[in-house]
Every structure is written in C-alpha cells, then in structure tokens.
Symmetry: D2
Subunit: 162 residues, 4 copies
C-alpha cells in the first residue's frame, strides 16, 4: 500500500504575517509531520497549489481533480484550507477506484498546539482503511462531504443537520 | 459513535528524569491531545496503570483485559509502552464485539517532535472505522499483532517476516 | 530585587486569525514563559493594553508612561509590538530612578520557533543588571532606543547608522 | 562585542533514552536557539565535552578552564549539566579579564516546555553586560557561584544561606 499526498495551501501551511506584510503560504508541512512520525508506509508529497482556499478558482479545483485522476496511486490525501474544503470535495465526486481523504487544520502547523499533526494522522489512517470515495477528516471524525459543514463560530467541522 | 481510551503508562506519558531521579510516568497525555484537536466525537480517557511496559506483570495484563471486557463501549484505544505492546495485544485476543486499537510513542508526548500526537490521531481514526479485533497503530500503519515486531535498532514497528 | 512586567499587546501575544476573522491579541504570554522557566525572583505581570502597536495612540503611550512612573518597583519590563517599540521607548525617557527594558517578538509566542521566550529571558536579565534608563532588548542585543531601528526586510532590530 | 559559547553536555543537550538504551547526549542545542532568535551579535558555538556533569573528571574541568583561558574572546558562555555546575564554576575562578557565564537547563531543550531557551537568553545578555568574573545564570537570576546551590527537591537554583 502507498499514499499520495497533494498539498494545496490553506491554514495548515501558513506562516506568520504581521499587519504590514502580505498574506503568505509557506512550505508544505505534511512532509515534516510524516518524517517525524517515522512512517514506514510508502508515501509521496506533491505541492500543487499554495493559496488560501477562499481564493480558489474553478481552475484550481479542476487542477486538483486532474491531479487526483491522473495519479496511478489509489489512495490520496489532499491538504486544503478549511473554508472551502467541502466545495472542493464535491468537485472530486465520481472519481472511480480512488480513496480520497481531505484534511487541513484550524491552526497553522507551525503553532505549538496546532491540530495539524493529529489531523494528518487521522487522514493517513483513513486513506489506508476506507474504500473508494471522498472523505473529510477533521476534528477526529471522518465526514461525508455532503453531510458536513464548518461551524465558523465554534471553529470546527461538524455534521450538518439536514 | 464513542471511544473509550485506557492509558497504561509507557514512553508516551513519560516525564523527564535525570540521573539522580527515580523513573517516572506522568499524567496521561491523550486527554490533552484530543482537547487540542478539538475532537467532536464523544470519548472518555481513563488511566488504569502507570508503568513502563517492561515492568508489566501478568496481573497488569489481566487488569487491562478486564477493563476492556467490562466497558460497555465497543470502541477502545489503549495507550501502552512500546516494548511489550505486542504481548499485551495477544492477551486481548478473542474479546468478542470490540474494536481495540493499541498505540503509544517512541518519544514522550512532552517532546517537541514526538510521534505521540500523530499516533493518537491514527488510533482514533482506526478505532472508528475498523471492525472487531485487536490492532496496533504505530508508525502510520495498522498492524495485526501477530505480524508485527518492534525493530529496536531502527526504533520503529514493522511487519514481521515469518 | 523584583521586576514588574507590563504587557501592551503586539505580535508576542497574537493568536492566529484567519482571513475571515478580526485581528486579535490573546492573553499575555510573559506569565507562562516565566512560570515554565521556574523563575525564583519576585515578579508581577500586569496587562495594560492589548493592541497591535501600529494602532497605539498618544493616549496609549501616556498610559504606559503613567503606569511606569506610578509603580513603586524600580525595575520594569514592557512587552510591546515591534513596529513602534522605539517610538514608545522615547516617550519613556527621563523617568528618573527606573530601569525600563522593552521587548517583544517577531513571531507570536504561540509559534513553535518563536523568539519570544529568548527575548523575555534577555529582558529579564537586562532589567536586573542595568542601571536606570530605557533599553530595548531584541535579537540578543541591548539597544539604546536612540540608536536602533527595526529592519523590516531582514525582520530584526539592528543598530542605526547615523 | 562578540560571544564565545562552549557546550559541555548536560541535560540541556540530552536526547530521550528509554529503559533499554544507553544514556545519551545529543548535538548542542545552543546553536539552534540562537539562530531561531535571529541574534545580530557575533557569536561562535564550540562543543568541547558531551557528558552528564555527574561524570565530569578533574581532567574535564581542566579542559574547560584551558579552553576559556586560551580563547581570545573576552565574553564566554558555558552550557553545562546542572548537578556540578557550581563545582566547575569554582575551577574557573581567577581567570583574569574574562566574563564567564554558565548556564544549562532542568529539562532538555528538546522538551516542549523546557527552560533551555529562556536560560540561554539570560546567559547571552549577562555575558554582554557584566564585567569580568564567573556567574551562573539559572532560574532567571545571576548567581555568584559561591552563594548558590541546586535545590534538588524544588528542582531549581537558589541563593545559599550561609
């Protein structure tokens, strides 16, 4: 088994910016997380976009879809900004034969008490066990993209009551 | 769904001890990890043993088995020292109807670059998805206790070639 | 000997804010830093302002001056945003009989690799040793406010060539 | 002004060792601390010993003295194990014209809440300001080696009541 990780920016990879600076996305953090965990499974990290997900265009989402479709690896993780993660997940529907797990974090991975490492652990495990489909791994749960929302007030993902 | 976490000591909960001090296990770290990840699933952490797993007696393992059997929760995580994790896993075989995931860490959770947070993320996800049985979540993989060993030289768990 | 610490906000106390959120200053970090260092000297932390120093008004600076003048403690540290630290330092000139050390950080104290803890260590030591006057402790140096500038490109304080 | 830093091992540079492993001192941590603080003063780190200070021989102390005497730099920091720091400090008496500041930490620098970064900040500042002599910078204070002891129960340095 082996896992492909595409990084697309978002809070998880953010570096600090002060009031005078432009907004910035730093280097992908997933690689360092997996190295420090001394993961024995084969994996590969590829940075394809570096943006706040609020700035994603349709073209960005098409690029992500294309990348997932064209990789020969069956198990894929996408790190992504949380604000439009659900929207991108829906664009990835109907890719047959692929297990796709999206994750990100509420706090930059460079923060001391960030949720980034935990979330990548969750996504890495879900990507190995689950069958084909698109999933969102956030706040310790595995969500169906059609039944989840980001609760901005509580700063977490939770099941959407429909 | 809800998850019960039993902590039993081990490296993951170790605090620093200098040359003049006695060996010590500190407070369970799992609780803090799950709080910082802002986990939305119901869970409960219970500390039942505080030992280096090299010091576990048969009675300790019986206590762990008893605790797992007697909880009404179906999904259980056990944090445990790495040196005899496999041995304890075998004692937990044949508990019907329970998903039991064991984890721990190679470096204390109090270390900056510890694998503890990642491993708890992995275990927390595996405990939700997998069916009844005993599993070991270490180094990014989900192992069958009968086909895994701790490679002391490389300081990691890996599949046992039989 | 005892040391009074006034906190006024700035990057050192910033918490993460995403694109959708308002800018925010969190709880003062100096207290936690001094506790973790297990400092044996008497000290007291008092939060008087919580702002980015770019937003400081003349009234804010007057408040700081008033607070420093009215404390009976002779040795004072002020944590402060870096962008106008020098400006505030100049307002504190001519307070007789007080050793005043200003510090802050380029990265929030909540970041893993922040300079905050080091800088507070520097300021805490300078405040004990130096005689009356106003000093800026940043980037490992003790600067005279009249001969220092923030180099925004290199993101550090350095001697001003005049 | 410039500062020479000799590292000699001790808790500050310890890496984790489990029950089965030999005791180990890792790479000196002072360098990383000073880099992350983006220090603008000239400094140089040189590792001369890697031992728990309980294992220091008279020869080790002679080596430290020799190194301090033979450097042309006037301001010197020595990172050192806490258990015999005072003993070594006394061996460094009567080196004329040199400001020598010893420091170390109660918890390894690799720990999340270690006192190492704060202590190095204190030592770095003391080494710049103080005149010739030997000093111990621990727990936020600058001690005279003849009037300080390590209180093992409270795990801190404090003034020795004589």
């Amino acid at each position: 088994m082996k896992i492909k990780i595409f990084t697309t920016g978002g809070t998880i990879d953010k570096i600090y910016f002060d009031r005078k600076s432009e907004y910035q996305i730093g280097d992908p953090q997933a690689n360092g997380v997996l190295e420090r965990a001394n993961v024995v499974l084969e994996y590969e990290v590829e940075s394809i976009i570096r943006k706040d997900s609020l700035d994603f265009s349709d073209e960005d989402r098409e690029l992500i879809r294309l990348k997932v479709e064209s990789t020969s690896w069956e198990r894929v993780i996408i790190t992504h900004g949380t604000d439009t993660m659900v929207e991108t997940a829906k664009v990835l529907k109907n890719i047959s034969g692929k297990t796709i797990v999206m994750t990100g974090s509420m706090y930059p991975a460079r923060f001391k008490d960030s949720d980034a490492v935990f979330n990548i652990g969750c996504a890495f495990t879900a990507a190995q066990i689950l069958g084909p489909g698109v999933y969102i791994a956030m706040n310790g749960c595995i969500f169906n993209p059609h039944h989840v929302r980001k609760n901005v007030e509580l700063n977490r993902f939770e099941e959407k009551i429909t």
